[in-house]
Assembly symmetry: none
Homo-oligomer: 214 residues x 2
């Protein structure tokens, strides 16, 4: 049999913590070494027990989860961290990722998520709750209606030119590529700007760069 995964916990809610301990200790191959109710305590028990992974709540009195994570990783970069959180806060999530946390799970998620998360992390992966993934995706995920909303107003010629602009091409370059006058391209630019309600220097270039791939 392989060694147990050695785990420490930190959460300021005793009942929730009790539940976590129960879930983990009844899972074969995992054991809870110690518990903490705040960040300072966690840092201490991590030093003492040198666990494989620490599961910690973001919101704790005094030293919170993010601060504790930063300090733990500064002392020992090999310790894995699985962050638990009550709410879906994008900023907090991003900060946790920047710090170098290995997983991020919503407390409202199933207990199996915690077990899956621990296994995934010990396996070298990064684990996010599915509901967290949604957050990340929405950033890229401008819905279709929105795309069409303004792309549908452009004619096919305008769209072709728009895409070339998004490739950082100048009107002169585009005119050569399409065998038309430079002035024609400039007219198209003007019309595209009007349709997209863009005003000001380089606004079309900026917009095109930001929406490259549409």
């Amino acid at each position: 049999m392989t060694k147990n995964i050695r785990i420490v916990l930190a959460d300021d809610h005793p009942i929730f913590r009790k539940g976590l301990v129960e879930v983990i200790n009844t899972t074969p191959g995992m054991e809870v070494l110690a518990e903490a109710s705040n960040g300072e305590e966690l840092i201490r028990i991590v030093d003492e027990t040198q666990p494989d992974i620490a599961v910690l709540d973001v919101n704790m009195p005094g030293t919170d989860g993010l601060q504790a994570a930063t300090r733990i990783l500064a002392r020992n970069g090999t310790i894995k961290l699985l962050m638990l959180t009550m709410r879906t806060d994008e900023d907090v999530f991003m900060e946790a990722m920047d710090i170098g946390v290995n997983g991020y799970i919503l407390k409202e998620n199933a207990v199996s998520d915690v077990i899956n998360g621990i296994n995934a992390i010990m396996n070298g992966q990064t684990y996010l709750s599915p509901s967290i993934s949604g957050l990340l995706v929405k950033k890229n995920h401008k819905p279709l209606e929105k795309k069409n909303d303004f792309l549908q107003h452009l004619t096919s010629t305008e769209l072709r030119i728009f895409k070339l602009i998004a490739e950082s091409k100048t009107s002169k370059e585009i005119s050569k590529e399409l065998f038309v006058s430079e002035k024609t391209i400039e007219n198209h630019r003007t019309n595209i700007c009007k349709k997209l309600k863009l005003k000001g220097k380089n606004s079309l270039l900026k917009f095109a760069l930001e929406h490259r791939g549409w």
Copy 2:
């Protein structure tokens, strides 16, 4: 009892497809309406059956999963799409997200992932395999060395100006914000361009926009 979730499948591997059908049809509340072995077929059966969700492979002969997804969403934006993939290819994943796919699962993942994914998507969420989540995280996680690699050449003043340029501000606007001459800002622009080896109109703006957030 609520209505079954109506599902269509597309995958060019018959055996894998057989397995998928089995998994879904033995899950209460889900039923497979039709199957396809390529993108064109999928588009046709989606038109015919009007399912709630289509589960489709990225890699298929002829019209592939991405093309099929684009065309299906163009016809009916309410149909949900769950994408399956063999390999973890970041570009393909990003493209799928841009197209508006609702979920993305590795074929090597557990069958329960497909069921979980379908349920999550029908519930309005976006579903990603845990192993995919790791990909996303690495993006934000641009290692420190790389950032410094070219930012270290910029002085603090230049860096401040660089960030304002990345916010699409003009030299005039920046000069007012920093209480210096417009000409000073232009000089800094020139110096920044030299340090970053940028040449040509708007090249700094383009670069700054692309590296916003650094």
